[in-house]
Every structure is written in structure tokens, then in C-alpha cells.
């Protein structure tokens, strides 16, 4: 009883007082957090003043953020640019497709690997699937160019033989094929790596639950759905929230290398646009403004997903 009262009172007290109380009660936890807090402060919060650059002209002599205040000038430049809508749309489309296709893939893969009974085969699969993660973007794109090449590519020929792709289509040069190609090769590359965390989470399922399930007469499919899946839901939700928080972060390198004259309509994204503007002039402030815009959108997505997730599953970041 008295504890409850205490809690209620605590909420009303000013932050400083509450912090002090918490420090006294949980000083051990604070010590455990201290190195992380200090590190983040020095390397992330100290340089944070740089954010102001988005609202200022860059001036070398006045220091990085000492230039004249221009308010939303660079934001306006971006919003009024002819490329604003197309690049934003393309970025969203690519990113959303990546999440819809790419997010469930490692979960399913982890489930499959988890169900393999033959230990040797399990190890073989598990060690193979995560290797693509180590292939650099440059080689990745070279491989895409060779394997999907119009007349001689092994994969494109295979897709055409099984009539998944019409025989007169050049996959590499088709605007409508760009997003599937980009997303699926991305899934290929990261699926195994991303499944590691789920495999680890699955390994911590209490084996007593399996025994209980067996006694209830559940088959393997049912066990998987009712025991394994719920066990990794917190991990799934947290990663989904984090993924949604990166909705506008479409990496530059791969897109840039995969761009060609034919697919530009689908492949010109925010990051390549900023590069194209910046390559001809050192556009510090413009880049900062676009970056800040991305960040804010990302952050909003994170907050919304977090809120929904907390509502539905009870799991959330904060």
C-alpha cells in the first residue's frame, strides 16, 4: 500500500527530486550505465551543435555553424526542387518494399533453420546463409550485372525459361524491374545475417514448453506457431520499430551503382540526388537540411510504430 502511495507521489515531484531518489535507490544500475552515457555524451551530444548548419549558410572563416542565419532557405530549396516529389516517392517505394519483403524473410528463415532436425545439415545451412552479408556493394552490383545480363546471365535466363519474366525483357534496363531487383538482391544478401538474432532468440525458448506441447498432442507446425513464434515477438517488434525508423535511409552506394539511363525514373532517390547536387559544389547546408528532413520523417515513423506496437503487443522501445 504505502509503496503505491509513494509511486503516486513521486510522479508529482519535480524531475530533479525524482532523479535524486532514483540515484539513491538504483545507484548500482546508474554505475552500470555510466560508461555508455559518458561515451554517448562525448561522441554524440558534444558534436550535436552541428545540426544548426541546416539553418545557416556555411562559412569557413566563421566556424562550422557560425555562418549567417538563413532559416528555412535550404529546406525551401529542397521542397521547391523539381526532383523533390519524384525522389521522395522513389525512396519511400523502395524502402517500403524492402521492409514488406525483407523484414519477414529472416524470421521465416530462422524458423526453417530452427526446425531442421539433421544437425549437420542445419549447421551447413546456417553457416552458408549469412556469408552474402560480407560481399561488398561493388562486387554485389557487378554480380547482378553479370548474372542478370540480358542474353547471357544465368539467373535472367533461368527466370525466362520458367516464364517468370517475359523473354524480351532486359531486367537490368526495365524501370518496373528496378525495385524488385534491388529489393530481392538486398533480401538475398541480408536475410541470413538478419536471421541470426532470431535464431538466438529461438534458442532461449524454454524446452519445458515443448514437452508440455507434445503431451497436449500438438504437431510440429502447431508447436512452431504457438510456442516458437510468440517467444520471438518482442524481438520482432523491436526490430520492426527500428526498421520503420530508417524508412528514408535508402543506402547510396548500391542504388548509385545500379542506376542507368533506363531505370532512372525509379532509381533516383534522395541520397543520389543530394550527391548529384553536391558533386558540383560543396553544398554543406543543403545536404544538412535534406539530412535533417530525412531524420525528422524517420523519427516520426519510429514514434508512430512504437506507439502502435506498445498498444498491440505491449513491446516498445520507450
Amino acid at each position: 500500500m504505502s509503496k503505491d502511495n509513494n509511486n503516486a507521489k513521486k510522479l508529482q515531484k519535480p524531475f530533479g527530486v525524482r532523479l535524486k531518489k532514483d540515484l539513491i535507490k538504483n545507484w548500482q544500475l546508474w554505475i552500470m550505465l555510466l560508461p555508455a552515457i559518458i561515451y554517448i555524451f562525448v561522441f554524440c551530444y558534444v558534436p550535436m551543435y552541428g545540426v544548426r548548419l541546416a539553418f545557416r549558410d556555411y562559412s569557413f572563416s566563421a566556424g562550422i555553424t557560425g555562418g549567417p542565419w538563413v532559416g528555412l532557405k535550404y529546406f525551401k530549396q529542397y521542397f521547391e526542387s523539381a526532383s523533390f516529389i519524384p525522389t521522395l516517392r522513389n525512396t519511400f517505394l523502395i524502402s517500403l518494399t524492402s521492409i514488406i519483403v525483407g523484414f519477414p524473410a529472416p524470421i521465416i528463415l530462422a524458423m526453417i533453420i530452427n526446425q531442421i532436425r539433421n544437425e549437420k545439415w542445419k549447421k551447413v545451412v546456417q553457416t552458408t546463409v549469412y556469408i552474402p552479408y560480407f560481399i561488398s556493394v561493388v562486387v554485389m552490383v557487378s554480380m547482378i550485372n553479370i548474372l542478370f545480363k540480358n542474353d547471357s546471365g544465368v539467373v535472367s535466363n533461368f527466370l525466362k525459361t520458367i516464364h517468370l519474366v517475359a523473354s524480351d525483357v532486359n531486367i537490368l534496363g526495365k524501370e518496373s524491374a528496378f525495385i524488385p531487383l534491388y529489393v530481392l538482391t538486398g533480401v538475398w544478401q541480408s536475410m541470413g545475417w538478419n536471421s541470426i538474432i532470431y535464431i538466438a532468440a529461438l534458442s532461449s525458448v524454454d524446452t519445458q514448453l515443448y514437452d508440455a506441447c507434445k503431451i497436449d498432442g500438438a504437431n510440429r507446425w502447431q508447436t512452431m506457431i504457438h510456442i516458437d513464434f510468440p517467444a520471438i515477438i518482442p524481438t520482432i517488434m523491436i526490430l520492426l520499430i527500428l526498421n520503420m525508423g530508417g524508412i528514408l535511409n535508402v543506402g547510396f552506394d548500391k542504388i548509385f551503382l545500379m542506376q542507368n539511363s533506363l531505370n532512372l525514373g525509379a532509381s533516383e532517390v534522395i541520397s543520389t540526388y543530394v550527391y548529384n547536387v553536391g558533386i558540383k559544389s560543396s553544398q554543406f547546408s543543403f545536404g544538412s537540411a535534406v539530412g535533417l528532413f530525412n531524420t525528422v520523417i524517420n523519427f516520426i515513423f519510429l514514434i508512430i510504430t512504437n506507439w502502435i506496437s506498445k498498444r498491440i503487443t505491449g513491446t516498445g522501445l520507450m
Binding site: 555508455a36 562550422i64 526446425q115 562486387v139
Partner: protein
């Protein structure tokens, strides 16, 4: 009697559906394996075939016109050994530092009775999105006198918020709360509970985080590029990048800089680099894999 029959038929249908399920698992895993393995195999054969033939799509299932120019180029460069040495240093020391900082922090944030947890969490999450940019960060590092030192390449990104969140989520969801309550009754402190109960129960997540951090250090190219300009400190990825550039066909458009050298082998380097830079880190995985076995956790509790 009747009960036994029902159970018997139940087992039968269960056996049948389990068999179908088992077959589906095998088929799917073989499918995934082939899709993943073929391009990997392609990297290997491309690294020893005539690059012209690779580029025109003539190399598909076995290497053609075998040559080892790519590997020769990489291993005749003495810088590569310095690079390996530095990278191993950064990976080992860096990862240990990461774990020492991340695990206790993850534990503290996983405690539901830690009132400031949401505020502190926000403190971390905020930095995932908002940062001052490269230049102010560089100036901060510079003011600490860490530019072009081995130290900065070890301590930079000493804690990754993403990994911290994974750590916290795991400790929060996979470690039964009653263990803590029992420990508290025994008069156990957070420190002791963390060391004797949480750590042994978190082997799976510890190995995942160690892998994540180690691979991050192993692959880290950008930070080494920005914060270091001393050849003595250059990690493997920087060295490999230079070897790659040196063998790339000169970009078009600048006629004065052509060298018609080894086009038929030059592109081998980019495939060989994948193998040279990936093999060592691949060897780490089997050691980590064993902590993903089922029952590790329960065994630990009982032990």
C-alpha cells in the same frame, strides 16, 4: 481402452502432418541453400577466371582460363599483413570494450523497477537519429587528440544503440522475472545478479552482439578513412580498397590516363578481395553458433 485408441490415432495423424512438415522444411532449406550458394560459388570461380570471359558472361558453372593474378596482386602487397594485424587488434580489443559497455547498460535498461529507464532510453535513441554531422564529430575527436591513433579506431562506436536495444530486449523478455525476485530475497545486489544469473543466461545474445560488433570492426572502412591517415594504422579494408582501386580499369573519360594493362585479369582482384577479407571472419562463426543450441539456457540455470 478408448482413451488409448484416441491417443493412438492422434499420434498417427500427428506423425503424418509432422512428416509433411519435416519434408517441407527440408525442401525449403535446400531451396534457400541453392539460391544463396550459387552466387557465392560464382564469386569463387570469378576470382580465378579470365575477367574478360567473366564480364561477357561466359563463366557460369566452372572457371575458365584459370589464373591467379587477383590473389598474387593482393598477397604480393606487403601492406596486407599490417592490415590484417591492425584489423585483428581493432576487432579483439574493440569488441571486448563494446561488450563491457553494452552488457551492463543493457541490463540496467531492462530492469522494470529502474524508473529512469525510458528517459535514458530516449537519451540513447535520440542519437540514432540526430547527430551533428561528420565535421563536428571530427573536431571533437581532434580536440581529444585522437586523430590518426589506433585508439580512436578501437573506441569509436564503443556502444551501438541498436545493439544496446537488442541486448535490453533480450534480457527483458528471455530471463524469467521470478529469478530476480528470488535473488532479491537472498539479498543479492544488481552487480551480483548481473554477473551470476544474467550473464550465464544471456550466452545467446552475448554471442550475437559479439558477432555484430566484431563484424562491424572487421568491415569498418569509413571511420578508418575519416579518422586515420597514417599507413601504420590502416586496417585491412583500407589496404584492400587501395589494391582494388589500383587494379580497376581506369574510369572512362580521361584519355590521358589509360594504361592497357592486364584487363583480362584486373577484375579478378575485386572477387579475390571478397574471399581474402571474408574467410578469416567466417572462421569465428562456428564458435559462436554453439551458443544458439536449444537448452543452453535451461542447462545454465540448473547448473
Amino acid at each position: 481402452m478408448s482413451k488409448a485408441t484416441i491417443q493412438g490415432s492422434g499420434i498417427k495423424t500427428r506423425n503424418l502432418s509432422d512428416r509433411i512438415f519435416g519434408a517441407a522444411v527440408i525442401i525449403l532449406s535446400i531451396l534457400v541453400f541453392v539460391i544463396i550458394a550459387y552466387p557465392l560459388y560464382f564469386v569463387v570461380i570469378a576470382s580465378i577466371s579470365n575477367s574478360n570471359l567473366v564480364n561477357i558472361g561466359a563463366v557460369t558453372f566452372y572457371p575458365k582460363d584459370i589464373r591467379f593474378y587477383g590473389y598474387e596482386q593482393i598477397f604480393q602487397d606487403t601492406r596486407i599483413w599490417v592490415g590484417y594485424g591492425n584489423t585483428i587488434l581493432y576487432v579483439v580489443v574493440g569488441t571486448i570494450l563494446n561488450m563491457v559497455i553494452t552488457l551492463p547498460a543493457g541490463y540496467a535498461l531492462s530492469r522494470k523497477d529502474f524508473m529512469a529507464r525510458n528517459v535514458v532510453m530516449f537519451y540513447f535513441v535520440f542519437t540514432m537519429f540526430f547527430n551533428g554531422g561528420l565535421v563536428p564529430t571530427y573536431m571533437t575527436v581532434s580536440s581529444l587528440g585522437l586523430i590518426s591513433t589506433k585508439t580512436i579506431l578501437i573506441i569509436f562506436v564503443a556502444i551501438n544503440t541498436y545493439n544496446l536495444i537488442i541486448c535490453r530486449t533480450f534480457m527483458q523478455s528471455a530471463i524469467p522475472e521470478d529469478l530476480y525476485e528470488a535473488a532479491i530475497l537472498d539479498g543479492c545486489s544488481h552487480f551480483k545478479y548481473f554477473m551470476t544469473v544474467v550473464m550465464p543466461l544471456s550466452k545467446a545474445v552475448i554471442s550475437v552482439l559479439a558477432l555484430y560488433y566484431a563484424v562491424f570492426h572487421w568491415n569498418d572502412y569509413f571511420n578508418a578513412l575519416i579518422y586515420n591517415s597514417k599507413a601504420d594504422n590502416a586496417p585491412l579494408q583500407i589496404v584492400l580498397r587501395e589494391i582494388l582501386l589500383l587494379n580497376q580499369a581506369f574510369a572512362n573519360g580521361n584519355g590521358g590516363v589509360q594504361g592497357g594493362y592486364g584487363q583480362s585479369s584486373a577484375d579478378q582482384v575485386k572477387y579475390a578481395i571478397i574471399i581474402v577479407s571474408t574467410l578469416p571472419i567466417l572462421c569465428v562463426y562456428p564458435f559462436i553458433q554453439k551458443y544458439f543450441e536449444k537448452g543452453v539456457m535451461i542447462g545454465a540455470v540448473k547448473g
